[in-house]
């Protein structure tokens, strides 16, 4: 072996990658060649120096700053795109140019950029509405909270109305529950025996996801934003119905929100599901015509929600925004701080769950109401025996806690479920938010 051959293979030797036969010949050469031996010694030192330097740099943590910059730059671009779209208008000839502008500004691939453009135009087309009336169907329980979905349940009809004239008024309704905001305040009625009624200010939602649909421009705008922020992906397809009317379908793929390490709320809400939302816009007017939300489950995709029809700018009967609350309705009372509130303030969710269920067990309704102001005397939890209280956990974007419990009812039936507790700011203690 000559010096050149030896030196070409020094790295392989240092890395332990030289083949046995080759290594033998190199060792032989190194024994007799002082220059190559010296070279090897220096390379070992150089290698150590490279490893040290790389080790120092591998602690570099610039990913957060880089990602923050990317998100900021994207937000700036979003504003510019909107200005460009506003400037371009609906002229067909300009549409192709608009798509190119968006590809350029968003950094989104062309397919997504055109979908983003459609969303932006859809938002613009819904910006100055007088009213909307949205007919939908949703897999849910007829009486339960508006945002709840239940994929095992059949479809329930849900209708939404909003008048944008001053004062803004809206209504949401499904068979067992209705909420009306008459311009002054919102009242929700749960149709049951007895009826329950809740009153809140004009901004009270009683729903986040469903109510958001009333602001068509804002939903489309929000979809555009989340696509640009990268939390969802977009696709645009075209469709023609039997009568030859063309639609644009924007498909949004979205991931469940919040930490679902404990998946209790997974697929119980649209936001806590991995889902596909397909917005259908009229190709000509760019107005939203429909929406289908498919939840991805282990067993395949399930259509969980659908906007069947939207009527824009129709004259709405004023009676839509009036709600007759039956005289026998039980009105919800907001919890207040108690004279001995400190004792309750200190309770962990587990302690609060136990105290609440034990109060029900003793049929001490006054005590039980400190946790669940709406609980009625004679509630099925009366006389209940606590079998087990589990460890509180959080799930999804819900800010409160869930406490697993197991109780034996007076009937002998064993119930296992989770109580939801939320810290009430005004009452300064944990209040039952559902789960019984």
């Amino acid at each position: 072996m000559n010096c050149q051959e030896c030196r070409d293979n020094l790295a392989a030797l240092l890395e332990g990658l030289a083949e046995a036969e080759q290594e033998g010949r190199m060792q032989e050469h190194l024994r007799v060649c002082a220059a190559c031996r010296a070279e090897l010694a220096e390379l070992k030192e150089l290698r150590g120096r490279l490893l040290d330097d790389a080790g120092a740099l591998s602690r570099a943590e610039m990913q957060q700053e880089v990602m923050d910059r990317i998100m900021r730059d994207q937000a700036v671009k979003l504003r510019r795109i909107k200005m460009k779209i506003a400037g371009i208008g609906a002229a067909a000839a300009a549409a192709a140019a608009a798509a190119l502008v968006i590809v350029f500004w968003t950094g989104l691939p062309e397919q997504e950029a055109t979908a983003a453009e459609v969303l932006a135009k859809g938002a613009a087309a819904a910006a100055n509405l007088r009213s909307v009336h949205i007919k939908c169907r949703m897999r849910t329980l007829p009486r339960d909270i508006f945002d709840l979905i239940d994929l095992d349940h059949d479809f329930v009809d849900v209708a939404l109305w909003k008048s944008f004239a001053d004062p803004v008024q809206w209504r949401m309704e499904k068979p067992g529950r209705v909420v009306v905001m008459d311009g002054q305040s919102a009242v929700q009625l749960v149709r049951s025996k007895p009826n329950y009624a809740y009153k809140a200010g004009p901004n009270a939602g009683f729903s986040e996801w469903l109510k958001a649909l009333l602001d068509v421009d804002r939903i489309l705008d929000r979809e555009l934003r989340s696509a640009l922020a990268g939390s969802t992906s977009l696709k645009l397809t075209h469709e023609k119905d039997d009568r030859g009317r063309a639609s644009l379908l924007v498909t949004v793929e979205a991931k469940a929100q919040g930490d679902l390490t404990n998946d209790w709320v997974k697929n119980k809400f649209i936001q806590t599901s991995d889902n596909r939302r397909v917005y259908r816009l009229d190709a000509e007017t760019k107005r939203l015509q429909g929406l289908k939300v498919y939840v991805h489950t282990d067993k395949g995709d399930v259509l969980a929600f659908e906007i069947v029809r939207i009527e824009y700018d129709q004259r709405l009967d004023p009676s839509v925004f009036k709600l007759e609350v039956p005289a026998d309705a039980v009105w919800h009372v907001e919890p207040e701080p108690l004279p001995d509130n400190e004792k309750y303030e200190k309770m962990t969710p587990e302690e609060a769950a136990r105290a609440f269920l034990e109060a029900c067990g003793k049929e001490d309704w006054a005590e039980a109401r400190k946790f669940a102001p709406g609980i009625r005397q004679g509630c099925y939890l009366g006389g209940v025996k606590v079998v087990r209280i589990g460890e509180a956990f959080q799930s999804g974007p819900y800010s409160g806690w869930f406490v697993p419990y197991e109780v034996r009812l007076k009937s002998g039936h064993v119930k296992k479920w989770n109580l939801a507790f939320k810290k009430d700011k005004r009452a300064r203690r944990l209040i039952v938010d559902g789960g019984y």
Binding site: L46, D53, L57, D73, P109
Partner: protein, 181 residues
């Protein structure tokens, strides 16, 4: 290594910018070392590295061969470095950089070494950067660059020899501080 560069790139192009974080995590040390070598100032290098990643993100659609993301990224880094060199007000900044690097010499980056790496011909520079700053094995470097293992070790050997030569001109290993002043 869970996902390849090409997979991360595909996810970014699919509308998931978060996937880019994986690429930053994977390549930041390498890019930083290269830029420190080129610019001679760790702080400027970090600024340049961030700029390089941001440009890469917004230019991702122009990347023709996603498996070659790293080589492409280094190309961007080279352009950013050139622009920065051109734009910085030479005398004052270099003086400041020299002052910084001398005071940092003990614990901070090994500037003469990084400069020597940055000056290597491209084929040699890539293997050194990937092997050391990218923390890949020689076999992985081969896969990344699409060359046989034997070629990687030969290039490394030659790169070592070139590095030794360059460093020898300015100061031998272990004489970093003298080399810098």
């Amino acid at each position: 290594m869970s996902e390849t560069d090409a997979e991360y790139v595909a996810r970014c192009l699919d509308g998931w910018p978060e996937a880019f974080r994986g690429l930053v995590e994977r390549h930041q040390a390498t890019v930083l070392s290269y830029l420190t070598g080129r610019l001679g100032d760790p702080e400027q290098a970090e600024e340049a590295a961030q700029e390089c990643f941001v440009r890469a993100y917004f230019g991702l659609r122009k990347l023709k061969s996603p498996p070659s993301f790293f080589s492409w990224l280094l190309g961007i880094a080279a352009r950013v470095a050139k622009e920065m060199q051109r734009s910085r007000r030479r005398d004052r900044d270099i003086a400041a950089a020299a002052a910084r690097s001398t005071s940092d010499a003990g614990s901070g980056p090994d500037l003469p070494l990084e400069r020597a790496v940055a000056e290597l011909p491209e084929a040699y520079r890539e293997v050194v950067l990937l092997r050391y700053y990218g923390e890949l094995t020689c076999a992985q470097v081969g896969e990344r660059l699409g060359v046989p293992l034997g070629t990687v070790t030969k290039r490394l050997s030659r790169a070592y020899a070139l590095l030794r030569e360059t460093l020898g001109r300015h100061g031998s290993p272990g004489q970093r501080q003298e080399a810098e002043s």
